[in-house]
């Protein structure tokens, strides 16, 4: 009889487990609120974009997007746990639910957006792929790279652009695949490869950390479009909206001249859009399921886009990147957020 009994038990268990698996996935926003912190997928370490500083605190312009979302949801930008992801596993980590959003210099492409079940909510850095070589090789153009060994991070758009570029120009190369940026740096500096290729921003960030940055040049050719931006899982539009508008709030903040220093003052502004953004005119928070001061919290705790840029990667940092394409549309760039109304 015990056998039959155990049989029934296993039957029940089977049904139980399968219904548990079938159970619906709650909304990410609720999940994050219940957990009390945001799980944000970051780099394994790329200075200026996402890396822990000397005190172990994560910093960078990608990290600031995570912080903005935490500020919007909790009113506290520090309520974030960063999960380092390699370029190869980042989408799997997002899909498995281990993180709520991915903010890690990830290029928005059709297949990622559509086929991988992701949703890109915007662009926080317009980039393109470049090549870095050591100066003493005497190379001045990417067209002279035939036969070179190239360090390349696996699972990136840059890996595929590289293949296309060499093929299109009838050149050959040896690909030296690496998992992370630091492995790439090590292999490149050891001379395992002649060239390191990735997003130009990544090259500048890497180079800034080399023993002698001036010994390396980034070649003039930019071979691709790399719009980098935060992504969430497909199918949860409410959550996507929150992340999208957290980023937009930073950009609009810059447009309107609101920064972490003057945000309180600006509450007394007579520009209606400023008043809507800062929640003085109520109602916009509720549309997103947030409190009315969500954007105020972002701008006071994280700052606007320009503050974030200047602090982490701008001309006054070792990484020394000009705004270029990433300037506001009215300053000659292409950074542009939809209107806040």
């Amino acid at each position: 009889m015990t056998k039959i009994k155990s049989l029934f038990i296993s039957l029940l268990l089977t049904l139980g487990v399968s219904t548990a698996i079938a159970g619906s996935h709650g909304s990410t926003h609720d999940l994050v609120k219940d957990r009390g912190k945001l799980m944000c997928g970051s780099n394994t370490g790329l200075a200026g974009f996402g890396a822990p500083n000397d005190a172990g605190v994560w910093e960078g312009i990608d990290v600031d997007v995570c912080r903005a979302v935490a500020a919007a949801v909790f009113g506290d930008a520090s309520k974030v746990e960063y999960v380092p992801t390699t370029s190869k596993v980042r989408f799997t980590v997002l899909q498995s639910g281990e993180i709520d959003m991915l903010s890690r210099n990830t290029t928005w492409t059709l297949s990622r957006d559509v086929d991988l079940g992701l949703e890109f909510v915007g662009v926080n850095y317009y980039d393109g792929q470049g090549f870095m070589v050591s100066k003493d090789l005497g190379v001045s153009s990417a067209m002279e790279l035939d036969g070179a060994s190239v360090c390349i991070q696996v699972g990136t758009t840059t890996e595929m652009n590289l293949a296309d570029f060499f093929k299109a120009n009838g050149m050959s190369y040896e690909s030296v695949p690496v998992e992370t940026n630091s492995e790439a740096d090590a292999a490149y500096l050891a001379g395992r490869c002649d060239i390191y290729t990735t997003d130009a921003s990544g090259l500048y960030a890497s180079r800034a950390g080399y023993p002698d940055p001036s010994a390396h040049v980034v070649l003039p050719e930019i071979i691709s479009k790399e719009p980098l931006g935060p992504a969430v899982r497909h199918g949860d539009s409410e959550w996507a909206d929150i992340v999208r508008w957290s980023l937009n709030a930073m950009i609009i903040g810059e447009e309107l001249g609101i920064n972490s220093g003057n945000v309180d003052e600006m509450k007394g502004s007579n520009n209606p859009e400023v008043l809507r953004l800062l929640g003085v005119d109520a109602g916009y928070g509720a549309m997103l399921g947030l409190s009315d001061d969500w954007a105020y919290n972002i701008l006071s705790q994280v700052g606007n886009y320009s503050e974030s840029f200047e602090k982490h990667i701008g001309p006054n940092t070792p990484i020394n990147i000009q705004r270029g394409l990433n300037a506001l549309y009215k300053d000659g760039g292409i950074l542009y957020a939809p209107p806040f109304r």
Binding site: K3, I4, L7, S10, L11, T14, V17, S18, I21, A22, S87, K88, V89, F91, T92, Q95, S111, V114, D115, L116, G117, L137, L145, D146, G147, A148, S149, V154, G155, E159, M160, L162, A163, D164, K167, Y173, E174, S175, V176, P177, V178, E179, E183, A186, A187, A190, G191, R192, D194, R233, H234, G235
Partner: protein, 389 residues
């Protein structure tokens, strides 16, 4: 009639357990089915594509370490085969090297020389107790510290060693080389028969023949003879430093060498222990008896001890081969393009078919493991007591 059938099922031990087993298997199948369905549903809901059609789209990335031609326009399926062959290559080379090293160290550990014995002991204890991943990374870092490509270290002006690998001439087979190759095969087959013949002669007459020397000579000199008869149909393509890299010849990459050293040096430590215990397991009397028969000590090892020890050694050796093969998936740590690295990683990243790809990769490893076990079992049977003494 009906009640008696039910009765029989419930009270008859045999039919009841049959029923229970069928039900359990059925439920298990149902369970798997439900999971599969639910997964498919969830994937669809999240907008993740699924299915195996991705195998036929082009991979888009290049693989430099490969045994068959591959370009970025080839399919993910071909990338799978490139990775599979790389996995098999490291597994086969690793197992061979680990076995040779393991047997040597195992025998040295039993030697009477204090210094050798203890060096072997330290080696075994060190390598067994440090994670193999760290060892792989260690050897790879050492290899990366070899001279840079422009200062590649020449060996006899034919081979060049650098941190981009060992460059060596590659053979170019010209017309007529196949004859040389066939002559070698025929020579090998001939020596097998010769060995049998001489053995049986030895059993009849008691005369010993230097079989090993005769056969080695045949195997070495036959192809050489034919090589000259055919007018030296072999040339070499020498590597030359041109631009960024060596052109021509062939190369063994540091990623491969790092894996090879890491895996085989680690596994050899375990193999040496099984070899040692296998030798110890042969009773002392065997050695003493052969000594009193006046056998040379090298003969005692080869003819008396090792054949008996093999019976004890083979089963654990099999599991070491399995370990080595599975550990070869650590290739991702240093960029060795094995199955997990390319197909299981980059293809997965691009296509998002995590479940499909993992399933394929797991089934592949399972099949490789089963094939290894199977062949080792067959070999194991052949070295066991035949009982016809």
């Amino acid at each position: 009639m009906q009640t008696s059938l039910i009765r029989k099922i419930i009270f008859d031990e045999k039919s009841r357990s049959l029923l229970v087993q069928t039900l359990v298997i059925g439920l298990f199948a149902l369970f798997i089915y439900l999971i599969a369905q639910q997964t498919a549903y969830n994937l669809e809901k999240r907008g993740i594509s699924s299915g195996f059609d991705f195998l036929n789209i082009s991979a888009g990335y290049d693989i430099s370490i490969r045994l068959i031609p591959f370009t970025s326009e080839d399919t993910h399926l071909r990338a799978y085969f490139v990775g599979l062959l790389n996995t098999l290559m490291i597994a086969v080379c690793g197992c061979i090297l680990a076995t040779i090293l393991g047997f040597l160290v195992g025998i040295i550990r039993l030697s009477s020389n204090w210094l050798f014995r203890n060096i072997a002991y330290v080696y075994v204890e060190f390598t067994r107790n440090v994670p193999v991943l760290l060892q792989i990374i260690l050897y790879y870092s050492i290899l990366l510290n070899l001279p840079k490509i422009k200062q590649a270290f020449p060996i006899f002006n034919t081979f060049y060693l650098s941190n981009r690998g060992l460059f060596s001439p590659s053979p170019i087979f010209k017309e007529g080389f196949s004859i040389v190759f066939y002559s070698l095969i025929i020579a090998i087959i001939f020596t097998i028969f010769l060995k049998r013949f001489l053995k049986s002669k030895q059993e009849q007459t008691g005369n010993q023949y230097p079989i090993f020397f005769i056969n080695s000579a045949i195997i070495i000199f036959t192809p050489i003879l034919f090589y000259y008869i055919m007018g030296s149909p072999l040339e070499f393509d020498h590597p030359v430093l041109k631009g960024f890299n060596f052109k021509g010849g062939m190369v063994i990459r540091p990623e491969f060498l790092g894996m090879l050293f890491g895996l085989s040096i680690y596994t050899a430590a375990f193999i040496s222990e099984t070899v040692r215990s296998g030798i110890i397991s042969v009773s002392k009397g065997q050695r003493e008896a052969s000594q009193s028969l006046g056998l040379k000590s090298s003969f005692i090892m080869r003819l008396i001890i090792i054949p008996q020890a093999l019976r004890v050694i083979i089963p654990p050796l099999t599991s070491q081969y399995l370990n080595l093969t599975k550990n070869s998936s650590l290739g991702i740590a240093i960029g060795y393009a094995d199955l997990v690295h390319g197909f299981g990683g980059i293809s997965l990243n691009q296509t998002g078919r995590a479940i499909e790809i993992m399933l394929i990769v797991m089934l592949t490893y399972l099949s490789i493991s089963l094939i290894i076990s199977l062949s080792m079992n067959i070999y194991n049977k052949s070295v066991q007591f035949k009982g016809n003494a």
